[in-house]
Symmetry: C2
Subunit: 367 residues, 2 copies
């Protein structure tokens, strides 16, 4: 393996000082990029891209060719694990992910088993190896999975939903069945992330897209408990270096204290969280990742830069911040806006580290 | 006007002691009730029900015939105001509300004007009068409107959305236009709620269904500032008694301190908020309304009762709690589950008020 030339992300996740605030963007390889759309058109579909290692590798590197990003993230889907369990992942035109065979009866649920990643998710592991090789140590590679709870939401409901009535019916009528699914999912996700790490992933992230649809007590019982179980099973070392783990629960800002005490190295924040408030509540226990409103990328360049500075000012130039959006970049974002964002974060955060703190500068005679 | 026989809701909203915790349910007149579906089928549509005062009155009273609820809420839609502004509210089969003429150009936005409620929303005011008469003082009547921001979301986007790209584009590209819409909306909503109060509404509520899609700073600038503007304009007196005002922002749990300082008498909480945490953060400034997960109503009766007790225990038997769901009741809820919920809240909260506090009972020899 090549040495890692830019380890800014890994140091920020470890809350070590960095020369500037590292930045990567959720879904940074995606439909806002013309070169992505061209490759996707040739491949025929999103899943064809994700399931063909050479194409997944090519797509993963596309945003790095354009922007000075501090990480690559594996191009894949959060639902590869239940797909490997036999549920049949597919995408209807213009819609989110769906399963052909959602979990609707006890027999199917009791039969559920964690897949062997090397056998059934080999295409992902091969993509990880190819990406690592293609990166040549430019930046670290982030591996990921959907969280046990978020996988269960799709597995039971069969698709995304505004309120997940089928999942919630199971949760309140047969919590034992949901817990069984979550146990299998936690084991499966741990095996899967360990296999990604063994293949070369240098950081890992759990995407808990739907944890925010739970009550406060339900979040602890059905989502966070199983995220912790995944974390406990991880063998977090790659190339002799610790592999940091990031937990992102969309809509989970109210539960930041619980997340910050969960053992994860970093917590992803959506754009509804006040960064200063998050700093105070999370304390020095974890790094924080986020949290610009993805819709800022619809704005003209000067507004993008101003909003980026606002987020950086709110987090403060303390160690332990990784700049990101508060959710995935959308197809409507402009590459020019992304270029402005990445440039502003690099430039402004570097300047922040050399600035005299305003509070000190304001004291008369304190030169 | 008849005297008000059950004023438990109004006393709880004023944080005065009550014999039990009052309960009403968002969307309590709705599709989970067979008698509602029958009347809606006869009327032809939801909007026909809402726009015919006698039918709106009949539907408003339906849940009170079945359950011991402590309030009636006007049967109407949150989007009547922009409909009266000429945007053309309609409902496509199986979908949420839409506008025929969403606000997409500056000319239309600059032409926007607050409607005269007595002329253009007379059907709502007539419904309020008929409901008050039909209630005969059994329980108070709650009037309502969508919040200025939530109205703007629908007015600009033209429909509900998972991420409101058109609205967000305006917010970041032309905030001046969005502020203009919000100013007109605030004036229109204030006039509308004042007219509802004059017609007999004894409490009013602002439904800020989409405020939770904003950043923390954006919530203050685009939603809360205009909710406060509405509040300042209200003439809050009906039948010689103060008309309390409730603010509900779905997804707003993180901003509870700001909401609690806004001047509203009560804050509605969605089901993601931890009630004990909310009590600590809101202090004694406001009453709190909520916050059972609406999906609990898919559970068997004993589970419904247990979850109701959990919410009551978390709020504690202090003055200033109004029991409600954390969002509207869904068509999948069973009337039997609602009956169990209403009975348990009444019975258990009454018992709570007579119980020896557990902490005191646990002290040995302190009889």
């Amino acid at each position: 393996m090549s040495p890692l030339y830019n380890d800014t992300l890994l140091r920020a996740l470890a809350r070590e000082p960095t020369e500037y605030t590292p930045i990567w963007l959720m879904r940074q390889a995606g439909r806002y990029l013309p070169e992505y759309n061209a490759l996707r058109a040739r491949a025929g579909s999103f899943l064809a891209l994700a399931k063909t290692p050479a194409l997944a590798c090519e797509v993963t590197l596309q945003p790095l060719e354009r922007f000075q990003l501090d990480a690559a993230i594996l191009f894949s889907d959060i639902l590869t694990v239940p797909d490997a369990m036999g549920l049949g992942l597919f995408f209807a035109a213009g819609e989110g992910p769906r399963f052909e065979r959602p979990l609707r009866d006890e027999t199917a649920i009791r039969r559920l088993a964690a897949p062997d990643p090397s056998a059934e998710l080999g295409y992902v592991l091969e993509a990880v190896r190819q990406i690592r090789s293609a990166l040549g140590g430019r930046v670290p590679l982030i591996g990921f999975s959907g969280s046990p709870y978020t996988l269960a939401c799709y597995m039971v409901e069969g698709s995304g939903s505004s309120d997940f009535p089928v999942l919630k019916t199971m949760l309140y009528q047969r919590p034992d069945l949901l817990h069984h699914i979550l146990e299998v999912n936690a084991q499966a996700v741990a095996h899967y992330l360990n296999a990604q790490i063994a293949a070369g992933a240098q950081a890992v992230m759990l995407f808990d897209t739907w944890g925010g649809n739970l009550s406060a007590a339900g979040y602890e019982e059905f989502s966070l408990a199983y995220a912790r179980r995944v974390l406990r099973e991880l063998r977090r070392e790659c190339d002799g270096r610790k592999v940091p783990a990031i937990l992102f629960t969309k809509g989970g800002g109210q539960w930041l204290e619980a997340m910050a005490s969960s053992g994860f190295d970093a917590i992803g924040l959506d754009w509804t969280v006040d960064p200063g408030d998050a700093r105070r509540r999370a304390g020095a226990r974890v790094a924080l990742q986020g949290n610009l409103d993805p819709a800022v990328l619809y704005a003209p360049p000067e507004r993008v830069r101003a909003e980026a500075r606002r987020v950086l000012d709110q987090f403060g130039a303390l160690p332990g911040h990784v700049f990101n959006l508060g959710h995935g970049i959308t197809p409507l974002a402009s590459p020019e806006a992304v270029a402005s964002l990445v440039d502003e974060v690099r430039t402004y955060s570097r300047a922040q580290r050399h600035a005299v703190p305003a509070s000190r500068a304001a004291i008369p005679g304190s030169t």
